[in-house]
Symmetry: C2
Subunit: 384 residues, 2 copies
């Protein structure tokens, strides 16, 4: 099966592209490489030294004999997108190609506009390109569990059945996104659902939790295939960031009370979930939503786990509570469903001591690459 991975040079995209290629899929990567440009603009760098996408793909072919087609360009450029799709002829498109950082989207107006334009219009272009040339192609779109916010009721997978004044309907689950980035994903979801309804497209929205870990079977094959690992306050996500802080003796930075509960998954489950979605496509006209995570933790839980694992490795780990730069509930009910992917056969890698060890050892290995100036958050949600 021919699978195009949009955003295939990124953290989740690269791991996914190699995994699918290894599993026998005929993989293409389409990427604008703008994420590397944003790193340059912000003056931040992945902890791990990543090779260029061209080198990566060459090395992969040398090691495995498997070819990955490369399309360098922006899906906001419709001509480029259309031409690339026509050349590659995808049967499934996995769309990771969006600006994915909440703090980035909250830097200022320009970054909010960039995030929403880039994500919403890029995705809209993709919907039109599929409609016109590949109406049967399965769109697997990365969403985020952050679309739901933290409602005081259980979070279902995309839809909820509501009884109201004696009548019943199953409706899109109400969304309460917490940043202009998360809002862009909510906008996307609405646009995709509509395109499935009116054009008969088939789509799966993967509302993914926070991804942690860096090693997969494929990215671990060679130093030149290494995946990116972000630790800075813009792109570094919880857990990955905590491990890196622990490795260099920086206090773990818990924002506010730390009772914020979020969903998490190992990057090895991300790539497996994408494959599960691809291999059992949505029906024509169907907008399918999977909550893609394996466990729920509070930020305090996470910090404690990293502290314990760090101490076991002989590190001196402190936990610091800092002012929360975000506007979010710091103590709240949270219970999200994730049965769809489990029913398709997902066998989770739960967060374990060995994963934390591996991540901490990665961080220790590359600690010389860390710039401490980028660890503390500088972007504030509030009007200051």
């Amino acid at each position: 099966m021919k699978v195009l991975v949009i955003g295939g040079d990124g953290y989740c995209g690269w791991a996914t592209a190699l995994y699918l290629s290894n599993r026998g899929y005929d993989v293409g990567i389409l990427d604008s490489l703008v994420r590397r440009h944003w790193d340059l603009e912000l003056g931040v760098e992945t902890l791990t030294p990543i090779s260029s996408i061209h080198q990566r793909i060459q090395k992969w072919q040398k090691l495995t004999g498997k070819q990955i087609d490369l399309f360098v360009g922006d899906i906001n450029n419709y001509d480029f997108l259309q031409k690339s799709l026509r050349e590659f002829q995808p049967e499934a498109v996995v769309h990771f190609g969006e600006q994915r950082s909440a703090p980035f989207s909250m830097i200022d107006r320009e970054h909010a506009v960039l995030t929403q334009t880039n994500n919403v219009i890029g995705n809209l272009n993709l919907l039109y390109a599929l409609r016109d040339d590949f109406p049967d192609c399965h769109l697997v779109k990365l969403g985020t569990m952050g679309e739901y916010g933290t409602p005081n009721i259980d979070i279902e997978e995309g839809y909820i059945t509501i009884e109201h004044n004696g009548r019943t309907d199953t409706l899109p689950y109400p969304k309460q996104p917490g940043s202009f980035y998360h809002l862009s994903k909510v906008h996307d979801s609405h646009n995709i659902q509509f395109a499935c309804k009116v054009w008969g497209l088939r789509a799966t929205d993967l509302n993914q939790g926070v991804v942690y870990g860096v090693l997969t079977e494929e990215t671990g094959m060679d130093e030149m295939l290494i995946n990116r690992l972000d630790y800075d306050a813009i792109y570094g996500t919880a857990l990955n960031r905590f491990c890196i802080q622990a490795a260099i003796g920086h206090p773990l930075t818990v924002y506010g009370k730390g009772g914020q509960t979020r969903t998490f998954l190992d990057i090895r489950d991300t790539i497996r979930c994408v494959e599960l979605a691809i291999s059992t496509p949505a029906k024509s006209g169907e907008f399918r939503v999977f909550n893609q995570f394996t466990e729920m933790f509070s930020i305090n839980d996470l910090a404690l786990k990293v502290k314990q694992a760090g101490i076991a490795l002989g590190l001196d780990v402190e936990i610091n509570t800092i002012d929360n730069p975000r506007v979010e509930a710091e103590e709240h009910y949270f219970n999200a469903k994730n049965t769809n992917l489990l029913n398709l056969g997902l066998q989770p890698h739960f967060l374990s001591d060995s994963l934390l060890d591996s991540l901490l050892n990665f961080a220790i290995k590359y600690q010389h690459r860390i710039d401490r100036a980028h660890i503390l958050p500088k972007v504030n949600w509030k009007r200051l």
Copy 2:
């Protein structure tokens, strides 16, 4: 009170600006005039011959002594928006300044992208401009009842209390918009709600039904103050369009089974609702939603009413069912709440024979301006 009407050269905006000016508000109009440009592009024209915005405002001042400040430019140009707001110093902003036609947004990819970019980013710019310079200014934003779609349960005003697995929360009402235009309004609503939450802005989202009628006390004062009245398949809305069809002996065009039920209001109620919202502003941090309509009718109901009123005036009125160019339920449950504005004191102008007479007579008076080539729908929702 200083009120800036964005989109004040349009159908609802112009009537609102004059009404508020007449009631003693200090009014400014900000408009890019792009709607007049789209008319040119599409080759369509308002039934009524409208003067330029400059002439309109001059005439208004001559007649009433009241000045309306004019800012010609696009809110997607942030520098222009910021400069205009700083010059005018609004205490309330009424935001009508969006591409408002569902068929326009469905013409092709370019029009879908134009609609979502124009509406979402323009509105996002406005949120930032208010945050930075006028955080206490009340934003009155025009939404649409079409954001809700046609759920099988009662439609509440913006929020719904859901009981689920023994727990309860009040959440944003789930949205099922039916075009890329309606989707843009859903995106806006989410963005505004977030801005109220994180920045403490105050906003009222007016989810308006289909507006009909053309005469208001103010626009009727002089031929040069006349309001636009669209009859074409892109910008003409039900009822207005039916009256104009009846006036020229064109069959009324009912799309599909005609059981589509929608909400409606007289343009004299639109302007009154906006004033009610302005005069009792939302609280700081509050995102308030009002459903702005007075009655519900099916399309068949409307066509019959226009037929009866036409026959009474001696017109020969036929009703034709044509293939529905939209993808929508043609028979469905529909019951929407509209108590918030009634509680604030709205006294509705219900649809009456005299209103239909007045509208039909308007259409007869200007029938020489009608181009029959623009009456039948040419834009189709489906993938053809």
